[in-house]
């Protein structure tokens, strides 16, 4: 009150002065009337006689009203904040519920074990939470109420969607936890607890509403800042008025399990092993790291929504499946009936990113839907697209690539691009499957591995439906850049027999959309009309991080330039499609095959755990083009090199189909860490009897030479002999007679 008095004393003259001015104005206004404004309607000053005492009362009233108004405003803001917070939480939970239901593999089964195993403190907390926190030492009454309130909301606990729970539980957690724990526990349960720090501090001070706000709000806004910073900031924040929105609490890097629990957006602030990209190379590296470093904690960050999966079946086996729900299950049957999923491991293999720090035996966590946009090599940290920062000890870049597109299509406008598919991911497979069921004609532009495999897969489908499948490319035959001309021509004939209309030496000049149909104009004048286009014209390696990280990009092959040990810079390795590496035997190259991703990923993982081994084990690749043509290859297989092909007369036994039936494993060629079903199509029509023709390239071996040294080998319809091929390339010897070398393969045997 004393204060008030002083303020009043100061304000009074001012008030009087302003009121005087006001009265003067009124007088002037009322001048024509010549009246004194005792009761001038214009006057805003309400009430009373214009005496001095009256003035005092007036001013007291005014100031009082102002104070009251301010108080009401403050109160409403706080209430509003609370309401906003509640709305926010509801929105997030509804969002998460939607997302969670979309996820095919629910996190629930992984949640209990993970939760039990790793959440040492977290789990008991919410439980004790439900029981009032009088158990907790020293919480002031407001804290109990505060704890009780969120714990009620946390009522539908772990049994239900862990997704929705996470925010509430953690909201409940902080108050109780905070009271118990000290502020200096940055690592383990730190995230929720640091979230708790400001709440608890504030609770001590005054309002209860704001504390519950920041923690969940922080959870919902997972922006950056290392854990350490949260301490001083939280303390500072605690002092500032409670009306302050949670924004300034960015440092709560509470972890989020995005892979299977999309709602809780918490990310570990530090991970010993960070793998950027969630594909084959990344998974192979994760496995390698876990095998070699006991208890390793590995975090995979991927911008795809899916867990790591293998790509080859997307253009082969999945199309041959009889299961109508294959686009959902993504399982394929191998020849011997053994089924497997394209995912390397089911969701239960991985742990949630939020549990990574606390996992006793470590584990592999996958953060989906997040893209790394910046890399700070000096500070050993990366920044995600949502501003979160993650620091690492060792980092692998396995970002793969993005399918290339034809410029003419890109420029052709939205109508055309909407009818064009660039095929690489699961989503592309799903959408292409859907599209091909509803159209009459599809054109594949590109004659390489992907284009030819898709053409054959769709060609087979065309037998059942009346889908017209066209394949066009600039070369003279399928796989024209890989196979020598005679073999490429032979392959093209086989592809045609699969039901594909092949247009060779086709250069696309323009693509337009007319009457809901696409018209492809070729440079030689031919016009092709079709409903949908699949562009399989190559892969652009993803080197987005090169600039921010200061990494070298190779100008010849594209991709990050790395040494023979796959290292780009200290603590940074690159593997898979994106790596342009030095192959001790074959020179600098960049390889875009599945097995290479596995081999290089595994090697990178080994080197990240201190192995220092160069790229030495040569990776292989394979392709199947229908039931008659299948081959495995290794090394540099470039049709511009001179080749020597040694062929045997084939019998009906020498097809990929027969090979798998015989060996009974359903696996013709395998990548080193994963079985991949590569057995070809179950052909409804029996394979035509092989002609005893001189030019019948039934099976054999083709050597690719560079300066008389064998640098590449194709095993043509000859299987299970890759080790010999690998050995020959490793030796790097000049062989005078390659026929003698071919003898090593026993091509006449099965």
């Amino acid at each position: 009150m004393l204060k008030c008095r002083n303020v009043w004393k100061k304000l009074a003259p001012l008030a009087r002065a302003s009121s005087t001015v006001c009265r003067q104005n009124v007088r002037r206004a009322g001048l024509p009337n010549g009246r004194i404004p005792a009761r001038v309607p214009v006057a805003h000053m309400s009430t009373g006689p214009t005496g001095g005492g009256g003035e005092n009362h007036l001013y007291v009233l005014l100031v009082g009203a102002a104070c009251l108004g301010g108080g009401i405003y403050a109160y409403q803001t706080i209430k509003g904040d609370q309401q906003r917070y509640q709305d926010r939480i509801n929105e997030i939970s509804s969002r998460s519920q939607k997302a969670a239901t979309e996820e095919p593999t629910t996190p629930i089964q992984s949640e209990p074990p993970a939760v039990k195993a790793s959440k040492t403190e977290a789990v008991p907390e919410p439980e004790t939470q439900a029981a009032p926190s009088p158990e907790e030492p020293s919480p002031p009454v407001p804290d109990v109420e505060l704890a009780a309130a969120p714990s009620e909301t946390a009522e539908p606990p772990p049994a239900d969607e862990p997704v929705v729970e996470a925010p509430q539980e953690e909201a409940a957690e902080p108050p109780a936890a905070r009271v118990v724990e000290e502020a200096d526990e940055p690592v383990v349960e730190a995230p929720p607890e640091e979230a708790a720090e400001p709440p608890a501090a504030r609770v001590v001070e005054e309002e209860q509403s704001p504390p519950s706000e920041p923690s969940p709000a922080e959870l919902t806004e997972p922006p950056p800042a290392p854990v350490v910073e949260s301490e001083p900031t939280a303390a500072a924040a605690a002092e500032s008025p409670s009306a302050e929105p949670p924004e300034p609490q960015p440092e709560v890097v509470a972890v989020s399990g995005v892979d299977s629990t999309p709602a809780s957006l918490k990310v570990p602030s530090h991970t010993p092993y960070l793998l950027i990209g969630g594909g084959t190379a990344s998974f192979a590296a994760a496995r390698s790291i876990r095998a070699r470093d006991p208890g390793a904690k590995v975090l995979i960050v991927t911008d795809e929504p899916d867990l790591p999966y293998m790509r080859p079946p997307l253009s082969k086996e999945l199309w041959f499946s009889d299961d109508p729900s294959v686009t959902e299950t993504l399982r394929f049957k191998q020849w011997n009936g053994k089924e497997r999923s394209i995912y390397f491991q089911p969701a239960s293999f991985y742990i949630n990113p939020e549990e990574l720090d606390s996992a006793e035996n470590g584990g592999v966590a996958v953060l989906t839907g997040k893209k790394v946009v910046q890399m700070d090599v000096r500070g050993n940290k990366v920044k995600l697209d949502d501003e979160t920062e993650i620091s690492y000890d060792k980092c692998l870049i396995a970002t793969g690539g993005v399918p290339r597109n034809l410029q003419v299509i890109e420029r052709a406008g939205e109508e055309v691009t909407q009818k064009t598919t660039l095929f690489r991911k699961i989503d592309d497979f799903k959408s292409l499957d859907k599209v091909t069921r509803n159209i009459k004609s599809i054109t594949i532009i590109g004659g390489g591995f992907l284009g030819s495999e898709l053409a054959c897969a769709l060609g087979r489908r065309s037998h059942e439906s009346d889908l017209e499948v066209i394949q066009m490319y600039p070369e003279k035959g399928n796989m024209g850049k890989v196979l020598p001309e005679y073999l490429s021509n032979w392959t093209t004939e086989k592809v045609k027999r699969e039901g594909v209309k092949v247009i060779t030496e086709a250069l696309v000049k323009s693509v337009t959309c007319k009457d809901d149909k696409l018209e492809i104009q070729l440079k030689d004048g031919r016009l092709v009309k079709t409903d949908h286009i699949v562009a399989a014209v190559g892969l652009e390696p993803n080197v987005d991080l090169a600039k921010s990280a200061g990494l070298e990009v190779d100008s010849d092959f594209g991709g990050y330039r790395v040494n023979a040990e796959l290292q780009a810079r200290s603590n940074i390795w690159v593997a898979g499609d994106a790596a342009c590496f030095y192959d001790i035997r074959l020179g600098r190259r960049r390889v875009e095959h599945h097995d290479h991703a596995v081999v290089s990923g595994r090697l990178a993982g080994e080197n990240m755990t201190g192995a220092n081994k160069p790229y030495w084990h040569q990776s292989m690749f394979w392709s199947d083009l229908g039931p008659d043509v299948g081959y495995e290859a290794i090394g540099i297989v470039d049709s511009s090199l001179p080749t020597v092909g040694v062929f045997a007369k084939a019998t009906a036994k020498d097809t990929p189909k027969a090979a798998t039936e015989q060996s009974g494993t359903g696996i013709r060629s395998e990548s080193e860490t994963e079985d991949t079903a590569t057995s070809p199509v179950a052909s409804s029509t029996p394979a035509p009897a092989m002609e005893q023709h001189k030019d019948d390239y039934g099976k054999g071996v083709i050597f690719y030479l560079r300066d008389k040294v064998v640098v590449g080998i194709i095993l043509w319809n000859v299987f299970n002999r890759m080790p010999i091929a690998r050995k020959i390339i490793k030796d790097g010897e000049e062989h005078a007679d390659l026929n003698e070398v071919a003898k090593l393969f026993n091509i006449h045997e099965d």
Partner: protein, 153 residues
């Protein structure tokens, strides 16, 4: 009789079975067993277990990886008359862990070993059970180095 044809830079040779009947005169470089760059099988030259062997599939890297490594190491270094007889505890722990992840380690009835079997049986059964249940694991002979995890039938 083999026939040879040239098509530009490419040479094509057709051979009959008889042509290839004689042993090859091509010389291959001798393998160095201690080459540090080479991919190793399950057992390294030093006698240690290569946990990164493709033959193990995901056993050493999954959620039960630690338990698996403990059990298998114990078995591997066991000098008992009945190999691995002192490792029951580790195998039990490993089995418990695997039961928690039925998706990853599918339990096939006759493969799940019981703890009252002799430890050698249980050890080999565990390994073969684990091997056969994991789709990625080859039929590997755990004592032989498996130089190529892939492709060989």
């Amino acid at each position: 009789m083999s026939s040879i044809r040239e098509e530009g830079k490419d040479q094509i040779i057709f051979v009959t079975k008889e042509d290839h009947a004689t042993p090859s005169s091509a010389e291959l470089v001798e393998e160095d067993p201690n080459d540090p760059y080479e991919e190793r099988g399950l057992i390294l030259p030093s006698g240690e277990i290569n946990w990164n062997c493709p033959c193990l599939g995901g056993m050493a890297s999954g959620p039960c990886g630690t338990d698996f490594k403990d059990a298998f190491s114990c078995f591997h270094y066991s000098k008992e008359e009945v190999k691995g007889s002192e490792c029951l505890e580790q195998f039990r722990a490993m089995q418990e862990c695997m039961q928690r992840y039925p998706e990853l380690y599918p339990q096939e009835d006759d493969k799940v070993s019981e703890t009252d079997k002799t430890s050698q049986d249980s050890a080999s059964a565990e390994i073969s059970g684990a091997n056969s249940t994991s789709p990625t694991v080859q039929d590997s002979n755990t004592t032989q180095p498996n130089t190529e995890g892939s492709v060989e039938s």
